[in-house]
Each structure stands twice: as C-alpha cells, then as structure tokens.
C-alpha cells in the first residue's frame, strides 16, 4: 500500500494503462510538456513520447472528434477536457457521434474513448471552472459515466475505463485532487471492484446517503457527525452514474427505509431526480419518508465568494437527514 494524492493515483493509473497497452493514447490541452493544469499527466509525455501523449490544438470538439477517428483506427484515446465548463464545445461530438457510433454501425464499430473531466467546485475558481455536468452525460445512451472519490478508485477506475470497450465519461473531483489515501499499485486490476458497482463507504442502519465524487468526503463527515447524535447513516459512493448500481442502492434503502441523495449539481433534472424516482418505484413500501435531495441550486454556479452557500456541506446534508426523520 502506498499513500498518494488522488491526482497522483490518476497519474499512476494512466501510466499503467500506457505501459500495458501500446494503443492507449493521452491527448488534450497542455497534457504533454506541462503535465496538465492539475499535473494529472505529469511526466507521461517525457516517458511515452509525443506520439502517445499529445498536446492538442485548443479546441475541444477537435479533441473528441479526432479521438473518435483514432479509436476507429484501433486506438484507445484518453482525452482530457481541461475543466468541466469547457466540455460543451465537444458536446456534439460526444452525444451525436461518440455515444451513438456503436449502435449506428450495428456493433461493427467500437469507440473506446475515455474522457477525463475535472469537475465540481470548491477551489475558488472563476466561472466555468466549477461545474457538475454529469446529468447531461448520464442522460445520453451509449455513454458510461463514472466518478472517482478516492485515490484507490482513481487508480483502478481510470484503468478500467480505458480498458472498457464503451466510451466513458470519467469525472474527477478537482477539489479532492490533493486528498491523500491508500493505493495498492501491486494489486491486480481484475481484483478491483468493477467500475459499474457502487461501494458502501460507511455502514449504517437508519438512513442511506447516496453520493459520488467530491461529495463522498462531505457525506462521510456528515455521517460521523450524525453518529454523535445517535443516528446511524449508511454512506454509499455510487461511483457509476450510468448505469446506476440500482441493486446496491435499493438493497440499502430497503434496509434503512430512508434515502438522501447528495450532489453538487443543481437538483433540478439532476442525478438525484433519477435516483429518487427509481428508489420510489423499487422501494416504495420500504420507505419511511420521501427521498430527499441535497444539491446545487437551480442557478448558474455562483461567483466563488458564494460557493460555500451553493455547495452542499456537512450541515446541509445533516439537515436533510434530520428531515427524513421528521416525517
């Protein structure tokens, strides 16, 4: 076991993927010489060369469009979109082309493109640098959408995403890039939890809190605080946002009878809405109270001086937990 930052774990996972498969490419803005603005691709170009770690022109649609072409030629491109708010120029290539090519070709074409997107707020950034657009991609058939929340998952899930024959949108919680936790780089990837599965981070009996990415740490801290008040909170890191691990979600909610979904993205039309609907359909007779959502407001992301008001924090999660007991 090694203790490393989430960002370093991603770097190690990318390195492993580049080592294991000569078809893996890393491409994006500033990913080469600079090593990425968050240093996630640090030294990869130095070690694997400019042919495999490509500093691209500054155009996101071009990054994804050419990655599709490279995938059609048999490569496995890992694209970096520098910030969440910059993915929209590539949205058409992702939604209209990448997601649909396999179906359009009746299975003849495979496009194993991984798109890494640093997401979420909490770093005091200027606008367009703190967004959580995961619902847009989870809504799009043909994509797999995952989010890592700790170093071990970052290391394993990035490799699993690259190895996956489907296109994967890979969300990285940018404010957790510097969080350190254990990674076993000696372990076989096959032994890691499949990326489509959720993980129970904390077991509990009274209420299920569902979260992912940057909110996992927040929710664990909330659960610890709730324990002091005598409430047993089960925290589940969803990890896969499309498809959702409904088996894990529903079996937990059936035990606890209460459910809170937490994400940074606006609640309106967000992942929480989908999860609440599914939980209601599947677990209605086990529910003691309505499924509640904690998330961003239905506004654009605010200026950073206000982001602490916008982002769910320990108290807002606890507030929702309390409200599930008020019914």
């Amino acid at each position: 076991m090694t203790i490393m930052t989430l960002s370093k774990a991603l770097n190690e996972g990318l390195r492993k993927a580049l080592e294991n498969d000569p078809k893996v490419l890393v491409m994006g803005e500033d990913v080469g010489k600079l090593g990425g603005v968050f240093r996630v691709t640090d030294r990869l170009q130095k070690d694997f060369g400019e042919t495999r770690v490509i500093d691209t022109p500054l155009a996101e649609s071009g990054i994804i469009g050419t990655a599709i072409g490279l995938a059609l030629r048999g490569y496995r491109p890992v694209c970096e979109i520098q910030f969440d708010g910059f993915v929209y120029p590539a949205f058409d290539q992702i939604v209209s082309q990448l997601a649909k090519l396999r179906m359009r070709s009746r299975g003849f074409v495979t496009v194993p493109v991984t798109i890494r997107i640093p997401c979420g707020g909490g770093i005091g950034a200027v606008e367009h640098h703190s967004e959580s657009p995961e619902a847009l991609f989870a809504h799009t058939a043909g994509l797999r959408v995952v989010a890592c929340a700790n170093s071990a998952d970052a290391y394993a899930m990035i490799q699993q995403s690259i190895a996956c024959d489907d296109p994967v949108i890979f969300f990285e919680p940018k404010r957790r890039y510097w969080d350190k936790s254990e990674v076993d780089t000696a372990a076989e990837l096959a032994a890691a939890l499949p990326m489509g599965r959720a993980r129970t981070v904390l077991e509990g009996t009274d209420v299920t809190v569902l979260c992912y990415g940057p909110m996992v740490r927040t929710c664990v801290e909330s659960a610890v605080a709730a324990r002091a008040e005598g409430r047993s909170v089960e925290v589940i890191d969803l990890r896969s946002l499309s498809p959702l691990d409904l088996g894990a979600i529903c079996s937990s909610v059936r035990r606890t009878g209460r459910c809170v979904v937490v994400h940074e993205a606006p609640v309106t039309g967000g992942l929480g809405a989908e999860i609440a609907a599914r939980v209601t359909e599947e677990c209605f007779y086990h529910l003691e109270s309505p499924v509640l959502r904690v998330g961003g407001f239905s506004t654009p992301y605010p200026p950073s001086r206000l982001e602490e008001d916008y982002l769910p924090d320990l108290d807002r999660v606890l507030d929702a937990v309390d409200r599930t007991f008020a019914c």
Binding site: S61, L70, L72, K100, M103, F108
Partner: protein, 405 residues
C-alpha cells in the same frame, strides 16, 4: 471553355452578390471578380479550375495532372457514372412511392464522387456525408445497405472497416474530425511513406462554415495528417447559396491553414480522378493534407423533402445541365471511337437490372425486430438496458395471441 457563369446564360439574377460565383475567360480559366469589394487587390482574383475533359467531351491537358486512361478504363468510369445515377433515380422513385422516408440525391455530382472514389486504393479509408452514394459504389458497398438508412431500417449498419467506407454522417462536418483522427492513427501505425495509406473525407460547401471542419483543417495541418479534404461545392446548402458561406473561393481557405488547395471541375470525372489521385498519393507519402474543391452543382433537391423552386431559378439548372458529368464522357467515348452503340445499350441494360434489383431488395427488406432497439447500444453489458429489454419483452409477450398491431 470551362465553367460557364450560369447567370450569363439568360437568367435574371436571383442573388445580387453572385457575380464571383464563376466567370470564365477565353483560356478556360475561371475568374472570381470578387464579391463586394472584398478581393480587389488584396487577394488573387484568378481562380483556376482544373479540367481534363470539357463539357463537349474534348480532352484537355494540364501540366500538373497528366492522365493516361485506356478506352476500357474510360468505359468503366462511364459505367460507374450511369449506374450510380440509376441507383439515385430508383431511390427517388422509391421515396415518392413511400418506400423510403427520405433520399438525398447525388444528381449532378456523379463525376466528383466516381472520380475521387476511383482514385482510392483498397487500403485507403473514406469518410462520407450522407450523399456519397457514388463513393459507396466505388467502395463496393451494396446500394441496398444505403437504402436501409433512408428506409428507417437501420442507422447505416455496414461494416466500415470491411469496405474502407465509414458510416454516413448526418450532422454536418463532424466526419472531418473523425477522418483526421483516423489519419493520425495511420501516422501512429507507421503506415505513411512508401505503400502508405491515406484518408479522404467528403463534405459540402455548407460544411465549410462548421467549426468542426475548421478544427479538422487545423488538426490535419499541425499534425501533417495524411488526409484529403474533398469538398463538393454543389453551390447550395439546402436553400443557402455559396456566398452565405464564404467570401472567397473555398479552396483558397487551405492556404490560411497551411496546406495546398485547388479547385477541380467537379463535373469532370477525369479531373476529379487525377487531382484526387495526386493528393492521396501526396498524403500517403507523408506530404500532409490537401483541400480539393470539386466545383459542381446539385441538380436535384437537397433531399426529397426539399423544393428548390422556392430559392433558385430553373435557368440555373438548365445551364448546369449543359455541363452534365455523364454526357461529356459519352461524347468523349463517341468522339474517340472508343465505344459503339451496343456498349451504351449494354450499360443502360445493366442500369435497368440494377434499378430492378434495388427496387426489389428495398421492398423485400424486413423491418427490424422490436427488441433490436436495445442491441449494440453498449459493447459491454448494461444492467439498466438489460432490465428495460426484459420489461419490454414481457410487455410485448402480454399481447401474445392477439392480432398484430
């Protein structure tokens, strides 16, 4: 003469700023006098159009594009042109009879497609729009496969790798990036150089306004990717004329991106063949991208849902009919004594047979099974989709024994 300005042929002018559209001088060189004050003095105003076969069927020579074709090779090109036009005619008829939902006609663009399509090697890769039925033919794709898309039976569904012909792409210009990425893959495979491979990507005049096309130009340029950008300038993006897309001749855009561009008479199958061959060979050898603007005309509607009489004059079409891509090859074959009446009758008979086969196969095409909706969405299992498929199958089964819908 080369290309004739249709507006000088008796038509009143539907668009006031079309004067640079094409003009011609005695040498056959086309001149672009410039749209509003735009080009005067600041940019070369002479626009050369490469032409090797005149509308009257006379061979022309070009120092950069020597082309030796045997009589049999010319006859093969003629056959291609006639057969792809027949596929098109049959498909339009099928649409009119309700057998196809829509069809995008290639009428008038046969030479651009057959010329460029026959310039490709078996290992080259082509990325089409949705109108490249002639290129599809050259790549050996059964026209029936094309009809599946327009009948609503599939979204394409052929194996792009097997035919070295990618799926039709409906969203305008997207495929230029795919082609460029594919070409970057060729570079990474070390398949540039002697016996190299290259990519050709098709798009239209309207597409040149798309961001993706411009990004593809940049990518191809800075990475020196082995890709040929083949723009069929058919003058119309549905109802919008070329001057709504560009103030300069399209091929001149290439110089701004740092690679060669040239205009070829898109109704001249010889010129399209020679120019594409040379550009593809340059790409294969590692000389990077080329932009070819095939100057042609969409003689039909944009698609079968379109009504060109709302936005363009019939006289424009009449002028272009004089430059028909098939008639000039026929004239050449007759003029040179390379083909006799029985050859032309034979090709016509073959076209009729093909038309009948296309029709019959279209009518016999089965609808897909309902549960095919769920197939091939993902390469790997999806729990969500598995559950939906199961639910829908059970729902369908609940109607068992009832009359079919």
């Amino acid at each position: 003469m080369a290309l004739v300005n249709p507006t000088t042929m008796g038509a009143s002018e539907p668009h006031t700023s079309r004067e640079w559209h094409v003009a011609v001088d005695a040498d056959g060189a086309v001149t672009a006098p410039g749209s509003p004050a735009s080009l005067d003095g600041r940019q070369g105003s002479r626009t050369e159009t490469i032409q090797l076969l005149t509308p009257e069927g006379e061979r022309a020579e070009h120092p950069d594009y020597p082309l030796e074709l045997t009589a049999d090779e010319v006859k093969d090109l003629y056959r291609d042109l006639v057969l792809v036009r027949r596929i098109d005619t049959e498909a339009i008829a099928l649409q009119r009879q309700g057998e196809l939902g829509i069809w995008a006609s290639l009428l008038g663009q046969e030479a651009a497609q057959v010329g460029s399509g026959r310039a490709l090697g078996s290992r080259d890769m082509a990325f089409p729009t949705y109108r490249e039925h002639g290129v599809a033919w050259c790549r050996g794709l059964d026209p029936i496969k094309l009809l599946e898309l327009f009948r609503g039976v599939s979204h394409g569904g052929w194996d792009p790798a097997a035919h070295r012909f990618h799926l039709y792409t409906i969203v305008i210009g997207s495929q230029t990036l795919h082609a460029t990425g594919y070409a970057m893959g060729i570079q990474r495979d070390g398949a540039v150089g002697e016996n190299g491979e290259a990519v050709i990507v098709y798009f239209g005049d309207g597409a040149t306004s798309q961001g993706d096309v411009n990004e593809a130009f940049i990518w191809a340029s800075v990475f020196n990717a082995p890709v040929v950008f083949f723009c069929q300038n058919n003058q119309w993006a549905i109802s919008e004329p070329l001057e709504r897309q560009s103030r300069i001749p399209l091929y001149q855009r290439a110089s701004g991106f740092g690679f060669p561009g040239m205009r070829v008479d898109g109704n001249d199958v010889f010129a399209c063949l020679a120019v594409t061959r040379k550009a593809m060979q340059a790409a294969r050898e590692g000389q990077g991208p080329t932009l070819i603007e095939a100057f042609t005309y969409r003689m039909g509607a944009h698609t079968t849902t379109d009504d060109p009489s709302r936005y363009r004059l019939a006289s424009e079409l009449e002028a272009w009919k004089l430059k028909d891509p098939i008639e000039r090859v026929k004239a050449y074959l007759v003029r040179t004594g390379s083909a006799n009446a029985s050859f032309f009758e034979g090709v016509d008979e073959e076209a009729d047979q093909l038309g009948r086969r296309v029709r019959k196969s279209c009518l016999e095409m089965p609808d897909p099974r309902p549960l095919a909706i769920f197939e091939n969405v993902y390469a790997e299992p999806s729990t969500l989709l598995d559950a939906e498929r199961e639910q829908y199958a059970a729902y369908l089964d609940s109607f068992a024994g009832e009359a079919p819908r």
